[in-house]
């Protein structure tokens, strides 16, 4: 136990020397500023600006979201300025949609949206399900995405940076002859990163989803954070042990980021669905975190698979660690 405490103290010191905690704090502040002063406001903005040219006032029901223009020339100028906006020319008495060309689906969507603003709000009020307000939903979604990014990118790179430092100094080999269980060397790093990630998750959730909402979400969010944190930390350790230098590692990480993270974000947050996405482990981990934020039950099979993945990764990391200890100077 004393040996583990020494390892823990040393790892915290290494991380502090590498400015890991300062970086995490800076990221927390940046994310919080972005969510509270950027993202939430951005999500409240109108999707498309809608302009109406109706010199004779033929349209009786006009939503306050519509901007009126006084000439066709002004309408065209507005549409050219903001190419995603939608124009309606009612000068002939009949509403004609005018817009800058995009894909057929987008054009139809924009046209329907603009026309819906000429109907009474009662006629376009859908039945609402779910308990989250649009702002709560937006806050939970973005907090989930930022936490996922923080754990997969910053935590992964952080633990690898610490191990690369120790590998470069050769001190891993010294631990091979110390009277301490070798796996504690790995476990202490996992514990430090796990605790750091859990603290980060608590603060990020409370600051961005609100205290009362956040407290309710925390148990499930922390469980998912622990799963993702351990998997990413072990993956970071493995890469750091197998790859020769930090440059090689960052290149490998770029590949992971592009090929692993992009399809997950696309599938989870957009209508784009890949047939094979269910085979992608990160999709399930991301959905686990998202389900925690939206208080949806997660299947026990997910937890069993995660536990098996963590155990398997730990075993492989131990093998790589022993291989590193055996190496020549």
């Amino acid at each position: 136990m004393k040996g583990f405490y020494s390892l823990l103290k040393k790892d915290i010191r290494l991380m502090a020397a590498g400015k890991f905690f300062v970086m995490s704090l800076i990221f927390l502040i940046l994310y919080t500023l972005y969510v509270n002063f950027g993202y939430v406001r951005f999500m409240n903005m109108q999707i498309y600006s809608v302009y109406l040219y109706d010199p004779a006032g033929t349209q009786k029901t006009v939503s306050p979201l519509i901007h009126s223009v006084s000439s066709r020339k002004e309408l065209d100028a507005a549409l050219l300025r903001d190419t995603s906006s939608v124009g309606m020319d009612a000068s002939t008495g009949e509403v004609k949609i005018v817009l800058y060309d995009a894909t057929e689906q987008t054009n139809l969507h924009r046209a329907d949206y603009a026309l819906s603003l000429l109907r009474s709000s009662a006629s376009r009020s859908p039945e609402i399900i779910g308990t989250n307000t649009p702002e709560q939903k937006a806050r939970k979604e973005i907090t989930c995405e930022l936490l996922f990014f923080e754990l997969t990118a910053v935590g992964f790179l952080g633990i690898a940076a610490v191990l690369f430092k120790e590998k470069g100094m050769g001190v891993i080999r010294v631990h091979a002859i110390l009277p301490v269980q070798k796996k504690l060397f790995l476990l202490s790093k996992l514990v430090v990163f796990l605790l750091s990630d859990l603290c980060f998750a608590v603060l990020l959730t409370l600051l961005n989803t609100g205290f009362s909402d956040g407290v309710v979400l925390l148990p499930a969010v922390l469980l998912q954070t622990a799963v993702l944190s351990l998997i990413m930390a072990l993956a970071g350790l493995l890469c750091a042990l197998l790859l020769k230098g930090f440059r090689q590692f960052t290149l490998a990480y770029l590949v992971i980021a592009v090929f692993a993270a992009t399809p997950v974000f696309l599938s989870a947050n957009t209508p784009v669905k890949f047939d094979w996405i269910n085979l992608h482990p990160f999709y399930h981990i991301y959905m686990g975190l998202k389900n925690a934020y939206f208080e949806t039950t997660v299947s026990p099979a997910y937890y069993i698979s995660s536990a098996c993945a963590i155990a398997l990764l730990f075993f492989v990391v131990q093998l790589a660690f022993h291989r590193e200890m055996e190496k020549e100077g």
Partner: protein, 282 residues
Amino acid sequence: MIEVKNLTFSYKKGRQALHGLNFTVEDGEIFGFLGPNGSGKSTTQKILTGILKRHGGDASLFGQDISAAHSREFFQKIGVLFEFPYLYANLSAIDNLNYFSSFYPKEQRRDIGELLEMLEFKPDFLKKPVSSYSKGMRQRVSMARALLSNPRLLFLDEPTSGLDPSGAVLFRNIIEQERQKGTTVFLTTHNMMDADLLCDRVAFISDGNIVALDTPRHLKEKNSNRRVIIDYLYQGRREATTIEAPALETGIPFAHDEVISIHSQEPTLEDMFIQYTGRRLT
């Protein structure tokens, strides 16, 4: 202390590094393991210190088979100085030693300040990070790390590497002091002077085989041609003559006015190594 029988080891690529080594190291002995780079010295040391597993043959330390011996108690009894000074570069000498010593029981630990003083470590650098140290200073801290647990068995890999001549003398004295305390020393080196001055016995290892094992003196004597060169003055001229050493028993067997010097033709340990292995040590 150490008993090795028919020790073999192969790396995964199929390269056999050790071909059945046999040797014993007695309690309190300084045993030199000499060989050029790639001869199997480090592999043997790694097997004995429990870093490398999957070896063939038998090896026992402290009377216990090494496969079973690598427990916490085992590591508390050994001290290892690696070929390179592996230390935390961002920590000071004191912090490094405090960290490494924290893994040993309190009653076993030596005083870090005293150790560093004995190793003539510059006090100004005690709290500066290791990254600012010279190679010699790093080697001193590494030696302190190897000694701080009062080990019964000390593995030293090129202990005087990176040290200036006075540092090398200091290290040899410290190793000698350790032996006097009863510590067994397994010295891996290709430094002939270290081996000759320190070791009770040496083993020559080449291509994974021990080709000779004896005291340095016996090795040299066995292979000596027993000749001496005598430099002398005779009738105002300086001359040199080689004679068989037994011929000196009755005095200098030729005419001379003054003897300037007598040099034995005993081979050096390096000559012996070349004779046994056909290779140089570097």
